[in-house]
Each structure stands twice: as C-alpha cells, then as structure tokens.
Amino acid sequence: MAATQEEIVAGLAEIVNEIAGIPVEDVQLDKSFTDDLDVDSLSMVEVVVAAEERFDVKIPDDDVKNLKTVGDATKYILEHQG
C-alpha cells in the first residue's frame, strides 16, 4: 500500500536522524537537506538509497539533484512509489 505524505515525512525524518543526527521533529517539508539538515552531497546519496528501500521507489541519480528540500523528496516519492 502506498505511503501517505505524513508517512513519507516521518520516514525521511527517521532516515535523516540516523544519517545526520538531526532530531526527527526538525525534519519538515520546507527544510533544505544541505542548508538545514547537515546532509552533504555524500550523505544525500545515503538518504536516497534508504528512501528507495523504505518506499519502494527508484530515484535515478539525475533526479537526486532536484531534491533540495524534504518537500521535494516527499513529492517525488508520492508520485513515483510502487
């Protein structure tokens, strides 16, 4: 069953917490991975791989650069999840 927006944000929050140590409550739709959440370009690859597994979605490398915020990633996953 496809994940809801709330479930995706909550899932991304857990992933970002695991990888960057940011408290889950700070991971909000408007937050930038790089500027707000201490996720550098290498760690972003980890976030993407973890999100792919969790939400059954493929995020090609070319699309990763467009995922600037948690909102971008959530929207992408909502539209592409299997």
């Binding site: 990888i19 960057a20 140590g21 201490d38 290498l42 760690s43 690859v45 980890e46 791989v49 792919e52």
Partner: protein
Amino acid sequence: MNSTNRTVVVTGIGATTPLGGDAASTWEGLLAGRSGISLIEEDWAAELPVRIAGRIAVEPTETIPRPQARKLDRSAQFALVAAQEAWKDAGFTGRAGEPGEGPDVDPDRLGAVVASGIGGVTTLLEQYDVLKEKGVRRVSPHTVPMLMPNSPAANVGIALNARAGVHTPVSACASGAEAIGYAIEMIRTGRADIVVAGGTEAAIHPLPIVAFGNMMAMSKNNDDPQGASRPYDRDRNGFVLGEGAGVIVLESEEHAKARGAKIYVEAVGQGISADAHHITQPEPSGNGIAKALQNLVDNTGLKPTEIAHINAHATSTPQGDVGEIKALRQAFGDDVDHMAIASTKSMTGHLLGGAGGVETVATVLALKHRIAPPTINVDNLDPEVDADIIRGEARPLPEGTIAALNDSFGFGGHNVVLAFRTV
C-alpha cells in the same frame, strides 16, 4: 629567530590505546606493567590461527557523535580522539581562529601530520562485503574518504582548522614516528608554529590478522594472551596486533613560551635511514638502524651520553628484537650500558602505524616524570640481548638533563629514530 633551525617542544599529548582511553590511563597502565592483550571476542576469530589482540580500552564512539563517527574509519576515529585530547592538553579550547576561551592560534601557522600503516583497511574490506552481499547501491558513498590513508590527518586538520599543511607519511610500522619527525621539521624550518602529529591504526580484522599470521610474524600463544607479547624473552615468537592512536602537539619553543604554555620536553629531532635490503626482513647486521642512530647524532648534536632511556621498537619477533640491540651497540658502543631500554609493545601489542605515536607519548611522559615503564613477560632474557632491559617494574630515570629515544622501524626497511630531552 633563526627560521631554519628553531627549537621545538612538546606542549600536549593524547592517546587512546588497549590500556586506556587517554594518555593518563595509558601511562598508568604502562607503569603498572599491565597487559592490554586479550582474546578476540568476535565470532570471526574463532577458527583463526591467531585469536589474540590488543583491543582499544574505550570505544571512540563514546566521545564522537554517531553521525560523525559513521563517516570515519575506525583509524580516523582513534586519531580524532587522541588529537582532541592533545589539543586540549596544550591549552586550546576551540578550532584555530575560533578559540573560545583558550589562546588563539593562526590557522595558517598550524599543521597536522597523522599517519597510519594500512589506512582504512576495515572500511575497504567491509564495503567489499557490502558490495558482494547487498549490491552496488548499498556501498557507502563515504567509502573513499574513509579508506584513504590521509583520512585521519585530513579529519584532524579539519577539526582543528590546520592550514599550514596536512600530511601523511606512510612507512608501515614507522609511519607514526615519521609523522612526528616530519612535524618537527615543519616547525624547525619555519613552515608552522604548531603541528599536531602522531600515528593511528585500526587493523583488527580477519584479513590483516591472517595475512600477518601467514608471514609467520605473529604470536599464536592464544592460550596465554597476556603473556604472548614478550619482547627480549627467549621464547618470544612474534608480535601481537594492537589498535589505537597517539598524538602530540609540537610547537616552536618561542611560540610556546610566548603564550605561557606548559612544556613537557624538547623534541630534539630525528634520524632516518632505509635498509634497501628486503621488503620485510631487517638488514641482519643492523647497519641500517645504526645509520639512522648515527644520523640522529649528526643532525641534532645529541650526545649518546645524554640518552638515559629508549622506548624500543622491539615487537617480540625473534630476529627484530636482537637486531635493534646490535644496531644500538654498533652506533653507541659502551654508552648503551647506561640506557634503560623498554618495549611497551609487551603491554599494548604492536600498533603498526600507531606505534610511533603511542610510544612517543610514553617516551615524553617517561622524561617528564623521570620514570620509564617496564618490559613485561621477560621471564628469561635472551642471552643475545646485550643491553639493560627494564624488566618487571618501572625504573626511575636520573636527575639532570637527560634524553630519550623512540625507535620505529617498518616493513620496507624504514628506520626512524626520534629524540626528546628534558627541559
């Protein structure tokens, strides 16, 4: 100020070793003659011919936050722990240029030289396992910056804001000492005022253990872990692998005095040579090591009569321990009689590229406190060891100005001798 021949001093020390999570607890363990060697508890060791090692006493993840730790190879974690301790011990509280409450340091005058013998070997091997078992997508994007051998130096440099130069000399088990020697030169020649320098190693993994074991280089005394590392003993049969890091803060004497720093000892200098003989066997006459000792005397003006203590390389191999003593005799003759010699590897195991760092910390503290740690497990001194080995208990060192050496030799024929002197 003569910018090409400045006096260099030690103003901070840090260590994380099989004996303790800092320099003080390590030193206490060394003076007490305590062994840090134990059976390897992980399942992977159960069927190996060598099942003993000197595991770190305090896991670095107790002080390094998890998000940072997961991007660092274990060797870099050790280096960071030891470097932060040394930095704080030298009186600094924040990054250079961002001092907090401590004295400020010009980042352009601060260097970092931290070495390891094998680099991020556990990261490399673990990520290859991930590739084989879980596929391409799961290999960590942090793999390369974790496994590269300059990673500990680079991470220390970033942590402290060191911009005068960050370096990683790699010379197997001489790496840590070579790093400190390189740092002394950076200050002596005026490239930097302060350099954080040392060695680290984290190679307790089945592949290095099996590979060293197949070279017949390691002790297989699995039934007696604490007695397995026994330099100079008649029945020694190879080294025991240890892990950890030792890092010191080196500083120009002028800079240290200007800021009123606590000074442990003078870093007199180094002697270096290469055997050019065999990729793993030491040159049997001891000529290579003797040449390094002679270079030390020639380069620094240190008098052999000043040397009261030597923290020896002696790893507990049949050939190496005796070869080092022969070389000392060749270089220093009868003066060796008044040098109290210890191999602290009898307690820590052999930390490979970390050895020069940790043993420099021990050498500095021996001079500072005028007491040298013992060599443990010398039940029957090898009759070929013609020197004063400190056995069993720590030994007070003489009053007056005295010097001490730290010897480090590495596969490839690298010979590095560092000298320190009381102030």
